[in-house]
Symmetry: C2
Subunit: 453 residues, 2 copies
């Protein structure tokens, strides 16, 4: 029994054992641990000890730990291994984990791996590497259990006993007809519960929802979420079963897609590589484009100020409220766009909800606009003692800016999706520029009227 907070203590003990060269002791302690924890532990030790420890682990554990390692360590291990060792790792790895790591290796390492794979595996690897990285094909594994329609339950269980040991999941088995075309699915639970002589064809579930190799991984993730699946079958264009996708890879996809949406909403070019493992130049390159666009589009707001320069010059105090108006307007817009973008991503908001969103944001805009500008009026007039007309100018601008920001922030992502543009990209710089410009135009127009400039 391991309580999660004990893991750190165990790790400390093992690290000391390894540092003191007590490899056999360390090996005994490690073998009871989860592969994910062993991989984390291996990140902490120096490379020489890493190789020693990796080599003395039982090969099935070593391969599983390998699949949890960061790419640099995987590369290091492959480069430091003999051909025989590479063969052993490849034999033990689940096929989807093999593909995952090969996709991240440099060409010379891939070449070395391919030359050590048997013919069949090499052909499969080459085939899988051709699936686009965001397709169901690149998520799937080939370790599924396939049964025939004509088998009895007893024969099916016997088949599973013979072939099931290396399979990724045997909770759901797939039934194929003689051309390997997907005919149905059956859970192991059902196989155990029915009489031994029952024919698979009579008890299988024929209404299997399947995916194609070229389906987008985001859509596949949506299916898993909708149906609470643990596994889904993947077929090729002739409806032949070619693999399965399991929920653990879907969880990774969900997190990746969430990170990607967040990055886009923060005006960053999306990237799958972790922050600390990306160098400063690459990170900077991801961030510069939207900042440049924002900078250039700000020429527009600058010109509005220039145009009203005389009005501003005669009542200089107006300048002091520009940051406040821009910030509350900008945030009002991004609050709306964030919720709507998220709602679209989760499927809670559909394109046909355009007018419902518009109406809701209009109401919200009025409530927030009244609240904020009333509070602001009290502050300006009674506390800051600005004149009545200036307080009016600021508050009218704030009220109208918030309503405009809410409507633009709420509807622009839906319009983007309708036009086939990623809603997350619509989040901020564009909305900011529109809201800024609207705020300034309303501000100076109101000021000119109310203050007779």
């Amino acid at each position: 029994m391991i309580r999660m907070n004990e893991i750190n203590e165990i790790t400390e003990v093992i690290l000391t054992q390894i540092e003191n060269g007590k490899y056999a002791e360390a090996r005994r302690s490690i073998i009871g641990m989860e592969s994910a924890d062993i991989a984390l532990l291996f990140e902490e030790i120096d490379r020489q000890n890493l190789l020693v420890m990796f080599r003395i682990l039982p090969k099935e554990i070593a391969a599983d730990v390998f699949s949890y390692m960061p790419n640099e360590l995987q590369q290091y291990i492959i480069e430091s291994s003999t051909d025989r060792e590479i063969k052993l790792i490849l034999e033990e790895l689940f096929f989807d984990d093999t593909i995952d790591f090969i996709e991240e290796m440099p060409a010379n390492v891939v070449k070395r791996i391919l030359s050590n794979a048997d013919n069949e595996t090499r052909t499969l690897i080459n085939q899988f590497l051709q699936y686009p990285e965001t397709s169901a094909g690149s998520l799937m594994t080939i370790e599924y259990v396939d049964l025939e329609k004509e088998m009895t339950a007893a024969e099916a269980l016997e088949h599973i006993r013979k072939t099931g040991i290396d399979k990724e999941t045997i909770d759901t088995c797939y039934v194929l007809d003689n051309n390997r075309i997907l005919a149905g699915s059956i859970t192991i639970r059902k196989l155990i519960l029915v009489p031994e002589t029952t024919r698979i064809a009579d008890i299988m579930d024929e209404n299997v929802i399947y995916i194609n190799t070229h389906d987008d991984r985001e859509e596949v993730a949506a299916l898993f979420k909708k149906y609470d699946y643990l596994v889904m079958p993947v077929v090729d264009s002739e409806h032949r079963l070619v693999g399965i996708v399991t929920i653990d890879h879907i969880v990774d996809v969900i997190e990746l897609e969430n990170t990607e949406d967040l990055q886009k909403m923060a005006a960053i070019a999306p990237s799958e590589k972790p922050y600390l493992k990306t160098n400063a130049l690459t990170l900077a390159k991801h961030r510069i484009p939207w900042l440049l666009i924002l900078m250039i589009s700000a020429t527009f707001t600058g010109n509005i100020i220039k145009k009203f320069q005389d009005a501003l010059q005669s009542v200089m105090i107006l300048a002091a409220f520009i940051p406040m108006l821009m910030d509350t307007g900008g945030y009002s817009g991004s609050q709306s766009s964030t919720l709507v973008i998220r709602g679209l991503a989760l499927g809670e908001i559909k394109l046909r909800d355009f007018f419902r969103v518009l109406w809701k944001e209009l109401q919200i805009g009025i409530i927030i606009g009244v609240t904020l500008s009333a509070a602001n009026f009290l502050k300006l007039y009674f506390f800051d003692k600005t004149g009545l007309m200036i307080a009016f100018t600021v508050c009218i601008t704030q009220f109208m800016t918030i309503i405009i920001a809410k409507i633009i922030g709420g509807t622009l992502p839906i319009i983007a999706k309708k036009l086939g543009v990623d809603p997350a990209i619509m989040a901020s710089p564009l909305i900011t520029t529109i809201v800024d410009a609207a705020a300034l135009i309303i501000y100076f127009t109101t000021a000119t009227k109310l203050l007779n400039l």
Copy 2:
């Protein structure tokens, strides 16, 4: 075999059948469908037909469909059902789904449900309702398979055959000692593969990582992601097994936590309720607090402008660049804070990485600062033909603001986490205010020096 885009067409056909009163035909078409799709279909039909269809479905399908329905429909069905019908639904529902829906029902509905549950279930429901909503306890279900150490593989399989039919997952079974204390786990795969006379105690995995009822659901989700688990056992304070948590509920938790982080980063009070199902007043209430704080803290930036009013008045053109400097500065900061907050949430960035992040953001700040201010200088001096000194003032301010924004955006979330404050809350309003103030102070100080104001 159902391809996903065929589902809409099938739904259309069934809707027409129901509208024409062809209930038996509709029933036949529905029975082959996935419960999640039937629930979506039921949202489209009017309430009278909904009750008819719900009642004529086989009761195990009806209960499963019920678990996928939105809360309003669940409430309507309970309120329209006889006591006997409620009993049937409760018997067929998985226990975690029962808890999920009871948690969302008004008190009178909960009372009616409890009065129709048998004694044992009622006690369990009351116990589960006491777990905090964000704890592992409220995520778990009681439908697990428990085995005894002394059983043989054959006895265990026989036990599963007898008791396993209603269990949420039988892929992993849990082994208990005589005080119901968790002793180990074993997969059904292993049970099938070993000789029939093997003792469970000899083949079970004793290194089971478990969670406690009071563990936070976000930490539980992190464990599922780290270890690629499909299910985890939950124990009480005496280490007795009280339930299991399955991956489908964890996927929901991951999405909820992601939504919550996004909301906080967009300066919105977090809420689990979908956007379209929340009324405008509630949505407005979630958004007003941070906007008010932002408005009040903008007094600070306003005062800076007031202080430099004379300088601004003598070179009015300076006002035109304020929006651009604030926007590029603000976005520079939120780019950094977004990546660091996400990295912290995914565990890719740790507290001890403070100086690595600081150093990285400093480098990024310099690269972006040089790029943007150089581009800006070319635009201002050659294209807009502002004077040399004004171009210098704007570009120096932009350069320094970006560096400050990057450093504050990158480090503030880590400092927040260190202080036990949610990093996501640190995302924006605070950073915006600091960056705005810094930009304005640098701007006017530089202007005063370079332009001799």
